[in-house]
């Protein structure tokens, strides 16, 4: 009844809005393309002409450093013209609607929009509105999805673990409010991870999360037992204001990743985090900076993955 708005009739990627609903072959194609760009990013001259003459608008309705910057670098390495707009501080505060903003930017001949917005579904709304030759990449919409983050996470896991088919993976923290977690869950289940766990107190789990194909744990010791990959989530400080959690201290004590808790995982387990980290809230510095942490490689891989997504969209 509802067709997938990010795929064309012949199954080509028109927009990247969600991981949900994308076939494993497409995810693998993106990861393989990203792999081919890794060499480029390490060269002396780090540019490819694939997006020469294309205008890419980085539309950030919510503040971001890492995601916006890596998209910008990725676009520039593909020779695109990049325009950064932080809309939270401009026209939206003057009462312009989201689609009015988009209409105006489209009139400036945008080829691609990279959108971050505080509302779930904002990227879908834009994708349904723009002309057929304009592509939209969701760089995070509300609590819904953050597909390029999940793709770079998959790239990182594949880099260190080679394949997905025999992994045990745990996602830890604020699942309820996390767009990263939703994208990760869809990506991991699609790529065939046989055992996926989420670990959180009940106040930070959405209703029926097990229907997404995860096993629910409330205890770190049990949840981390024998896992190959630990994916931490950021806990926003405003979560402490409401009734969801009593304090950052108690959260850290029971759900913060420490070396002691990590000991339950497999000896070669890797630790990931989408950033920005709250040290001493969801992760201890000794783990974040420790030998199993792949948090900084995640950022580096993020550039190649975003290059891959942009070049695939531009080619379709």
């Amino acid at each position: 009844m509802h067709s997938n708005p990010q795929l064309s009739k012949n199954g080509e990627l028109q927009h990247l809005l969600t991981i949900e609903g994308l076939p494993a072959t497409l995810l693998t194609q993106i990861l393989d393309t990203a792999q081919s760009f890794i060499g480029v990013t390490e060269r002396e001259v780090k540019k490819l002409p694939l997006l020469r003459g294309k205008a890419i608008f980085n539309l950030f309705f919510e503040p971001s450093t890492r995601t916006r910057t890596t998209f910008e670098i990725a676009a520039k390495r593909l020779s695109a013209d990049v325009i950064n707009l932080n809309i939270s501080t401009s026209s939206q505060s003057k009462g312009e609607t989201l689609l009015d903003t988009i209409d105006n930017l489209e009139a400036m001949h945008a080829d691609m929009f990279i959108v971050r917005h505080a509302q779930s579904g904002a990227a879908h709304l834009i994708a349904q509105h723009v002309a057929p030759n304009v592509h939209v990449i969701n760089a995070g919409d509300g609590r819904h999805e953050h597909p390029t983050q999940a793709l770079l996470d998959m790239f990182t896991i594949r880099h260190y673990k080679r394949e997905f088919a025999n992994l045990r993976v745990a996602i830890v923290g604020d699942i309820l409010h996390s767009r990263v977690a939703r994208s990760q869950i869809h990506a991991l289940t699609t790529l065939g991870v046989p055992e996926l766990r989420v670990i959180a107190p009940k106040t930070l789990l959405p209703a029926g999360v097990e229907n997404l194909g995860v096993h629910v744990y409330h205890d770190m010791q049990r949840g981390l037992k024998d896992v190959d990959v630990v994916m931490m989530l950021r806990l926003q400080s405003e979560r402490m204001q409401g009734p969801l959690l009593p304090s950052a201290q108690e959260f850290f004590k029971y759900y913060g990743l420490t070396a002691e808790k990590l000991a339950a995982a497999r000896p070669d387990a890797i630790v990931m985090h989408p950033g920005p980290m709250n040290r001493g809230v969801e992760i201890d510095s000794s783990v974040a900076d420790g030998p199993r942490s792949v948090i900084l490689p995640q950022v580096t891989f993020g550039i190649a993955v975003r290059m891959a997504v942009m070049s695939i969209l531009a080619g379709n």
Binding site: S120, D141, G142, R182, A207, G208, V209, N211
Partner: protein, 424 residues
């Protein structure tokens, strides 16, 4: 004016009639059914062959958006939509701007509606001043001005002491209190059912217990105060079961649901379809099936359109920022017929949910074709297929989750007090 409606299939739930008969109207009233009165010379003969002739529909909730929201809809446009949908009487909730909390506003609305000579408008007075949930309104004055009952619409009423006093005061005068059960705190910020779809789409959610907790408070207070309560827009399976039990204990309550919720569930949100941003939220398939079962066994007394026209711009927003509501006046009949066809319920029983029973809930003399009653009549073609599209709707609101759906049943004539106010 004398009208002879001939060869129609008369379905009159109040009188248990379902037969091909003629209907005779004179001086605004039903004169006779079946037998032609002596010396009856009609001014007009309406051939209703292959049509159903039933009482004009009674809609328990239609927002006409006046006063205050004329950019969304006007009395003119929505009254036309009502009669085009076969609706001859409608109750309008008090959440206008300003809310219907003063007799002057109610008189103005009644006057404006009457001057249009279309459907009959029955305003629901605000239960609390400005719908603020703090001080009760001058209910007796409002009643004298034309309010048929008192409602808090969708505005929160979290103070149980105020709720109890409002019920006691209404019970003093024998007025009915209309309430949509929803706990303010549990529903705070939510825009979708707390289930699989909201989890997937990352939408702030409203759990089912937001309804049942408020419902249990209302039921207990109803028993305590003796107030007559009408429950609006139930949405959960648990809520239906609570009402079923309360009714079996003899509590004086009635309840309705919106016609949309008989057909749709959270699954229909698809990829953030803002036309599915509704109050209450579309819930799970299990809830929808429980609503259907409740409607069939009589736990749920009536179906309403819950008409809430919204302008296009207010729907072209991210889901949670979009305004909730759907246009409904012209869909009440086809959606009721669709339910009847899908669940194999006789038309006599199905039409009761939108004619006789809602009239009883409102306490008005309508919803039946008994001789001597006002001739409010709906004549429709039950076979006629049509597609729900913006230009097929008279309402200024074109927003509905059913856009593009082909439905069956289209109104041919609508009569109010013996006058043809709509013909297609």
């Amino acid at each position: 004016m004398k009208i002879h409606i001939k060869n129609g299939r008369i379905i009159d739930p109040k009188n248990g009639t379902d037969a091909v008969q003629d209907l005779f109207i004179a001086a605004g009233k039903v004169l006779s059914v079946g037998r032609i009165p002596d010396a009856f010379h009609p001014n007009r003969v309406i051939d209703a062959s292959n049509r159903v002739v039933c009482p004009g529909l009674i809609d328990l909730s239609a927002r006409l958006r006046e006063p205050g929201f004329e950019y969304k809809a006007t009395l003119e446009s929505e009254m036309q939509a009502a009669v085009a949908g076969g609706i001859t009487s409608l109750a309008c909730p008090p959440d206008t701007d300003p809310p219907l909390d003063e007799p002057g506003l109610v008189e103005m609305l009644k006057h404006r509606a009457r001057s249009l000579n279309q459907a009959r408008v029955y305003p629901l007075g605000a239960l609390t001043q400005g719908l603020n949930g703090k001080r009760i309104t001058e209910m007796a004055e409002l009643h004298d001005a034309g309010c048929i009952a008192f409602s808090q619409a969708n505005a929160p009423l979290s103070d149980t002491n105020v709720l109890m006093c409002a019920m006691q005061y209404a019970a003093t005068f024998g007025y009915t209190v209309w309430l949509r059960p929803q706990d303010v705190h549990l529903a705070q910020g939510g825009v979708a059912h707390d289930g699989e779809v909201a989890t997937r789409l990352g939408l702030p959610a409203i759990p089912s217990c937001a309804e049942t907790i408020a419902l249990s408070a209302i039921l207990l207070l109803a028993k305590e105060t003796g107030a007559r309560i009408h429950l609006c827009r139930l949405s959960t399976a648990e809520g239906v079961e609570m009402v079923r039990q309360a009714k079996s204990r003899g509590l004086a309550i009635t309840c309705d649901i919106a016609a949309t919720h008989v057909h749709l569930s959270e699954m229909d949100l698809g990829f953030f379809d803002t036309n599915c941003n509704l109050i209450p939220p579309l819930r799970s398939l299990r809830d929808r099936d429980a609503l259907r079962a409740g409607l069939k066994d009589g736990t749920i007394d009536a179906l309403c359109s819950d008409h809430a026209p919204v302008d296009d711009d207010a729907k072209l927003l991210p889901f949670a920022e979009a305004e909730s509501g759907a246009t409904g006046l012209e869909l009440l009949l086809p959606l009721t017929l669709k339910w009847a066809a899908e669940t194999k319920i006789p038309l006599l029983q199905a039409l009761d949910k939108i004619t006789h029973t809602p009239a009883k809930i409102l306490g008005i003399n309508a919803g039946e074709l008994t001789p001597g009653h006002a001739a409010d009549v709906c004549i429709f073609d039950p076979q006629r297929h049509w597609k729900i599209e913006p230009n097929a709707l008279k309402s200024q609101g074109k927003n509905t989750p059913f856009l593009g759906l082909e439905v069956q049943g289209r109104v041919s004539f609508t009569l109010v007090e013996g006058h043809v106010v709509y013909e297609s």
